[in-house]
Symmetry: C2
Subunit: 226 residues, 2 copies
Amino acid sequence: MALRRIALHYDCISPYSWIGFEVMMRHSRMWNDPTVRIELKPTFLGGIMKGSGNKPPGVVAGKMVYMGRDLQRLNDFTDMELNMLSDPFTTLFKKGSIKAMRAITAMDMTNPEVVERVSIEVWKQIWIHDRDITDEAILMDAFTSAGLTKNKAKEFLEMAGAKEVKNKLKENTEEALDAGCFGAPSFIVRQDGEDDKMFFGQDRIELLCHQLELPYHGAAKEGKIF
Amino acid sequence: MALRRIALHYDCISPYSWIGFEVMMRHSRMWNDPTVRIELKPTFLGGIMKGSGNKPPGVVAGKMVYMGRDLQRLNDFTDMELNMLSDPFTTLFKKGSIKAMRAITAMDMTNPEVVERVSIEVWKQIWIHDRDITDEAILMDAFTSAGLTKNKAKEFLEMAGAKEVKNKLKENTEEALDAGCFGAPSFIVRQDGEDDKMFFGQDRIELLCHQLELPYHGAAKEGKIF
């Protein structure tokens, strides 16, 4: 069968990106199918929102309340442990994730094998420990928790300021916008000779499986390895 | 086991309400569990949006484009046949569904056994045939397609103007807002001695099943009867 590539666009500022990322990676392990390749695409969600004219859900009070319950239910369902932030406005809208996502992009350019593990550790810092990922010491904690040496972690933080790294993150963000994305996580399915197909949200993995004629495993807990 | 009641708040103007309604009713039939009771709650989505301060997705251009693809994928997955509207702005925002939802509320007050079938026929008029449900002749078509006599159908249309019917629709809408709803479909799970639990969206039926410890059947095609 022809190769199906799934570009997984995510930002570590987004809790639903984490859930979608985790559940997608678990599915990929359970499928263990060489005709499916997940391509991790660190993306800048702020750029997606701006480029598409979308607004984050937090602007409606009732949605923010619901989101807390929804995350708890998803934790229970998927065996994750996300918590609500003590100050979501500051964390999500004032501080943001650009330095973290640039450093992860630098890893993607030179050491792609560390991107999954590092992304998870950055998510843990915000969405489990409610810590400030604009603080370099906290990013260092995340990178070393993922197994990087201190020297290597520091090197990636420095690379985050380089022009080619900034451009690569912009490029991933543009790629998402070009495919019609307006939020994250977004999954773009590519196959030679077919139109690209974009799926938005962790709740559309079931439809993505249906499209690819691959089994949907719900929370896919058997595929959990971290 | 204690009775679990699931209030299913929906509006026939909303295509995702239809998908959620259909998939929920299929699950209910497949469960065939006397400890679970679905309570259909015709609701006015315009009132939910106003009361919660939410905005419909159609205000972001990219979301509207995506919605067309998403509906086609859901059709394929669930064996439904919704189509995009020729003039969504007029149908959804200018014309709306209040007369239809009032007539359905009148049925709910006197002949609740017809509500499911009639709601489906009203959805078909808009979301399959792209017809104008503010036109009484088209509503009559929907009601008689659901098996009502012409006389009975006409009676319900007349009842739509009655004060107690208008108040009952407002009451269902208030009930949804009080439970924290900000859109449709919404599912409120009630059980004696436990807090009410609201689930938003057709994509949260899986979490609802997990909460109730009932099997999730995806599109639940075996439960399809209409």
